[in-house]
């Protein structure tokens, strides 16, 4: 299990903006270490989000996404007090879920 994410979700009008900061190495699999050996790929492959348990967002990520990635997306609907949960899964099969309350 990785380090915690930082999730901020803000409702305005009929939309909720979610901003997520994830702690992850995001090793691309293209880099070499000091002895010239390839560092194996280790990055997030899937990101999903739910609003009050209902899936609202899903994406697949590859090696081009930066270390400690920042993700922002907008959900239709949502109001203060709703729960937004974000989950990532990486190439090692590791996964982490964090939840935030919409403000």
């Amino acid at each position: 299990m990785g380090d915690p994410m930082r999730i901020r979700a803000q409702a305005k009008d009929d939309k909720t903006t979610v901003r997520v900061l994830m702690a992850h190495e995001m090793e691309s699999g293209q880099r070499k270490d000091s002895s010239g050996k390839l560092i194996p790929a280790w990055h997030i492959t899937d990101v999903t989000a739910t609003l009050n348990g209902k899936p609202v967002f899903a994406c697949e990520w590859g090696p081009a996404v930066s270390k400690n990635p920042f993700l922002q997306f907008t959900i239709k609907g949502g109001k203060a007090g709703d729960k937004v949960a974000v989950t990532w899964k990486d190439t090692k099969g590791d996964t982490r879920t964090d939840e935030a309350t919409v403000s």
């Binding site: 930066s66 400690n68 920042f70």
Partner: protein, 267 residues
Amino acid sequence: MHARSLCLAVLGTLALGAPALAQKTSTQAIEEYREMLQDGNPADLFEMKGEELWSKKRGPKNASMQQCDLGKGPGVVKGAFVELPRWFADTGKVQDLESRLVTCMSTLQGIDPKEVINGQWGKGERANVTALATWVGAQSKGMPFNLPQSHAQEREMYQVGKRLFFQRGGSHDFACASCHGEEGKRIRLQDLPRLSGNPGDGVGFAAWPAYRVSNGQMWSMQHRLNDCYRQQRFPEPTYASDATVALGVYLGVNAKGDKSAVPTIKR
């Protein structure tokens, strides 16, 4: 027609001040890029880690850092960052934020300072100190720097720091002042603040710890100073040594009144 005349006007400006404009737009573009990144500054992740480390019971003594005295009394964090480095009665020394955190980790938690001082950047206990420094620094965001200079040792450290700043040496006959001694200097596209004077809000001493986007690392002031010396082709200074603290006093006192923007985000 209107669009065309506008286009001509733009071309006119380009022709007149092409080199100056090109330079300005690239630094401006970097400024914009930094602004965009500011919202999702991964320094927040290190801040969270630091906050956890502050209250977590750790080390041989199984204690937290919550009784650590950063200069404003045990456990007082807010405002401590903008008054460091300062003189501490218990150690009888002038200490910067990181050397003070190492002292607290040693006295409160029983963690051997050697683990930090002889450690590696971004690893083990040294990485923990950086995370703690990020969190402590963030608690004084927006506050103006006001380093104390009432103790004789604090004034002495300022003078030592000043000498180190201007001391030329190494294979390139360099000093901190070679890059940071006058206005308008830069390395590649990076503007360099004049640190022998007051650099202004959120610049120089008021900008570190910072997250480096290019390598995904969180850099403390100790790391920043260490790398400045490396770039000057000097031997690597010892972590939290008196020399690095003296430079901190010099930079910090010069930054008097400047508001802290810590933690910031850098290229």
